[in-house]
Symmetry: D2
Subunit: 160 residues, 4 copies
């Protein structure tokens, strides 16, 4: 299935490493990254016009069936993490996302230097309330929830 261009544009979400997300090595625990990319995906969907909340309320869920993470550099407590989320592939009954996680080095300055800390990917299968796979509807990400222009930042592929 070809992906509408509107959906392939990377979405950017930022969050801070919580204290409880560190471990005794003094860095963010590798398991903490999983909720981060899930939060980033929630914001990707909000920006693309349909909240995941409304999707679940309509009886459809996206279940993670594959997860991959490469950890490159440690993230630390209170670091500002910038996550770029991209939809990279749409299949019959599943979606593939890729994520790049950066640490924002200079929060106040204009330079906005970033360090890539991790890369991740997930496959999500659409399932109904019976827990069985569903074919992706054509209009899954039509802008049903959000009337006006959304506030989320979007990156152009060529500048990302």
């Amino acid at each position: 299935m070809t992906i509408p261009e509107r959906l392939t544009v990377a979405h950017v979400h930022e969050l801070r490493v919580r204290f409880c997300e560190t471990d005794q090595m003094g860095v963010a625990h590798h398991g903490s990254y999983v909720p981060w990319i899930e939060e980033a995906r929630t914001e990707w969907m909000r920006a693309k016009g349909r909240t995941y909340r409304s999707m679940e309320e309509s009886g459809l869920s996206l279940a993670v069936t594959r997860l991959g993470v490469r950890y490159l550099v440690s993230a630390r407590y209170d670091d500002l993490i910038r996550i770029e989320t991209r939809l990279v592939s749409i299949r019959m009954a599943s979606l593939d996302f890729e994520y790049e996680l950066h640490r924002v080095e200079d929060e106040s300055g204009g330079s906005d230097r970033c360090v890539l800390v991790a890369q991740a990917n997930t496959r999500l299968a659409l399932i109904g309330q019976d827990g069985r796979p569903r074919r992706l509807p054509e209009d899954l990400f039509e802008r049903v929830d959000v009337a006006g222009p959304v506030s989320g930042m979007e990156l152009r592929e060529d500048t990302a």
Copy 2:
């Protein structure tokens, strides 16, 4: 409501501190204790004859409405934590539990020396599938799930 004596006897459950449950102070994060006492309560119920799983499947839930924890001594990664769970009060629509969390100092030895690391209490309200409070049924903890004698350890009050 008077509590059947069978229910007031403390139940003992043991678990190990997970690596992901530590934080950068090098000790178990204070938030980690909440899942521990929840796990201990799950085992209390199993030992008393009704699994919480079967209760949820029958449409009844126990929602935590109050939580209190006092942290006395740090727990560390891989520590063996022994939790004593007691039902201390039954009210119209809620149950009060108390917990004592000990660190087992000498795991292999017969001496079995323990250090009290935390005390906790919770109030749980019975709610139905509509999310509204329910009156506690008389037979809530009749031994419906478990046919024979259970394997959980039980402490006599006087030796606890």
Copy 3:
């Protein structure tokens, strides 16, 4: 110890309920609130002029020794939670904080209606790198980290 007026003014922090923070009852798990109030406290400190990160880097930690939470109304996935954090007492070697957690009902509208979902309190003890209690220094929350005016919202007591 009397508390400088600057410190008693409530600080407001907002966050969204993560999907992973829900449980099979369909609401935010009661344990999820603990990281939320910790995150709120991190932002309270940033707003008051000293990041907790810099405090830890200087060898001082604030260890939670008491935690209390009253759960009033359920919070759900994707709810916007507004947390008001107040320093209510300073003792020789510890600080007491209180928190009010509200669910923002109408995110877009100007009305900004909120529902109180939970109240919480924590006691934090100052400890050194040896894990032993330390007396609170007079200048603990002097504005050492933040040069200019901070971006955090602050509530006046009388309007809170």
Copy 4:
């Protein structure tokens, strides 16, 4: 590096799905599996003769640099999960592990039927206290901590 036969034998660890590990889909959240396989690896090391705790105390850490999970079947609250952990490769400065997670269907019966719920793999790099990679010492998993025979179950490859 060839792996001593003693280390390649799969180790089996069991745990129960915690209530807090479920999400509003009614199943174990995909992020919950990460702590499970970490706990399984801790027990693998204990069974092989060196606790990870003692390794960290000696200044060496194993940092996860790659994580992969395939989710096949849902796990639910209170399910008994059996994890088989295998060391599959030793490199200059890292170790590769593979995991199979099964749900034990009939806990009491002798039949012991299992359903494969997920497969996972991790790469772990040895790092020193400076956070830099270290070459794996020859005797990394010599039985330094555990004097006598260990209590962990071990599976023969051909029966696994």
